[in-house]
Symmetry: D2
């Protein structure tokens, strides 16, 4: 179809940064529990996102549609403006060159184009961030693991209603899914990119 439809994409790194459910009104019953942890988390994700952009790692917002089947990104953001989630959204406002995948359920892979987008971007390594660490981040990690992605879940870039639950989810991802859960400042993006690119070359010569 018409070529001028096509956008330039950052394909070189084999790595993508997922930011999960941060476009959020934070007005559900136990949101106050979660809000204790969202500000430092948002700062860490913002820092990681800035570094990712510098290294041409594509950034993908993976966000619940909250039953708004007719809405696009802008309408979702609009809805959060007068909500308790306002600060979180403002701290992590999507930019024009970010990708956006709307999900109807907990996992970013369930009933969404995420797998197709990652294939198009030639990604084999995912960095997962966002809320809630023990629900949507965990469900997305499960599905990523079954699809053979390498997984990073920086321990200070996700949050759950209870700190204990967030830690258990991290432990589960580390033990079961071989996820790296070091904190954001420890992530060496150049090394992560190099490993991801190397794996693609290796794969090609296995057969």
């Amino acid at each position: 179809m018409g070529n001028d439809f096509i956008e330039r994409a950052d394909k070189g790194t084999s790595v993508a940064l997922l930011i999960i459910d941060v476009i959020n009104k934070l007005d559900f019953p136990e949101a106050d529990l979660l809000k204790r942890y969202t500000q430092p988390m948002a700062e860490n994700i913002a820092s990681l996102k800035k570094r990712a952009k510098e290294h041409h790692i594509p950034v993908i917002y993976v966000n619940d549609n909250y039953g708004m089947w007719r809405s696009d990104l802008n309408q979702l953001i609009e809805k959060t403006k007068e909500s308790p989630g306002k600060d979180l959204v403002e701290a992590l406002m999507p930019q024009e060159d970010d990708y956006f995948v709307v999900k109807p359920k907990h996992s970013g892979f369930f009933s969404t184009p995420l797998a197709s987008l990652l294939k198009y971007l030639e990604v084999n390594t995912l960095i997962l961030t966002g809320v809630a660490g023990n629900i949507c981040v965990l469900f997305t990690a499960n599905d990523a693991y079954m699809r053979d992605y390498n997984i990073y879940v920086p321990s200070d870039c996700s949050a759950s209603n209870e700190q204990e639950d967030n830690e258990y989810a991290l432990r589960l991802m580390e033990n079961i899914m071989e996820a790296n859960t070091e904190e954001e400042s420890k992530l060496d993006l150049v090394e992560i990119i190099n490993n991801a690119v190397k794996e693609r070359v290796k794969t090609a010569y296995e057969g």
Copy 2:
């Protein structure tokens, strides 16, 4: 999550109208062949859409993303404004209460939330329209058939580059997928709704 996020949806009819790939620049190599047929088709779809709305049948635009992974509906429409597809898009411009599903490949079910949306809308019967009849309409019908939907593909609401190919695709859907292919004016929406609702009741008492 926050209840005021939720939109009212038309759930009563068990039927949905799909309009496939009409947000289209029609600038691919053989588009002139297809353009011979799009105007009468657009009129028939517009007529069917009007009738569907009167009967509270949800209308779902299912549209290729044309490689624009970052775009939403408005950006897609914007891109068609100076294109050969302008007339088609204007004739079938989405309205605020229409649904919109972006697909990366040919079938509306592949790597999209369409199945989840149809489950949410409690739909068991689909009316398929749009372009191309022998590609994206056919691929979507295949997937609908495997998922046990009742299928209507009104013969004058789809178009292909060659009339012969459109007719063969209709014959395939009629013979293999038990699709009803009567022309738009013959579709009795009240009867279709009644059959669809009846089937749901019957299903409930089978067990």
Copy 3:
């Protein structure tokens, strides 16, 4: 196709019992940890299976293929005969009227016909049992929850390498997925069936 191919199936109850990964050699590195818990678990599952059969609840073995892409059930069982998993397999030997779904990854829904089989059996409620509670049972529960099944995970019918991990997985399923985790002897199958059948009728009149 030929009708005498078709088997009679237990469709009436809307409930299915899943037995996960018990056809197992138990020869992986940490299997000795898991083996501490498999005997009482197997007795509880056997008891539940017996009761399920009496109430015509279909029983589905959902089992890893262990990389044996060419194997069927009998070959898998054969392979366990001289293995540390022998006792577990013998305690829960599949019968001729049990169903069998082979899975290549952790979730019983991923890349398998399980969803189709459950649709065919008209099931809306799942009882999950087996090993490991914090891996394949949990991953399968995640996917069941996103597909809107009601979930029971009797606390004494699953096992993990560490008791603590099994308990955390149960807590996760209870808190996040609204799973019922009462122990096997507390499960009132008649009540579970009645609730499952009632839900189907209710659904039919919602629209």
Copy 4:
């Protein structure tokens, strides 16, 4: 898990041969129409299968379960022994080192582990054969095309109830899915393997 569970697989060629729905009783209403074409087709598939084995191309039987959710390959074959499909099955009897994927619907990819198996075998190129050319072969080709496989559908290795329908399906696969439809004797397996392997290397250096 236990390593001696793992089978040696032919992974080197990046190509797989799919044989669709030939384990078949051929006792459906219009089977006599199809039977006019199955004998020469079976000879061509048998010839192609023999050549594929010589080049270590994995052979995958992809077969309807005919509603026999509890059955394995041997039971399916047993059921055909006194049926009109006897000759077809005998001509193409699966061997021990063939793979076998049971499908509940028309496409070999729908609700089956086929995609996982092909990933495991590192395949990017499929040769599709079997019955019916305009139903299950076509539906499987659709899904293969959306998943970016290179497709071969040798024109004399599939059959439909009507010759005209088989030809139209072949034309559709050739025009829409860029399938190669040359007859079996024209297929140069060495060249197909070389192209498939080359593509994998190319992919690795694109990023």
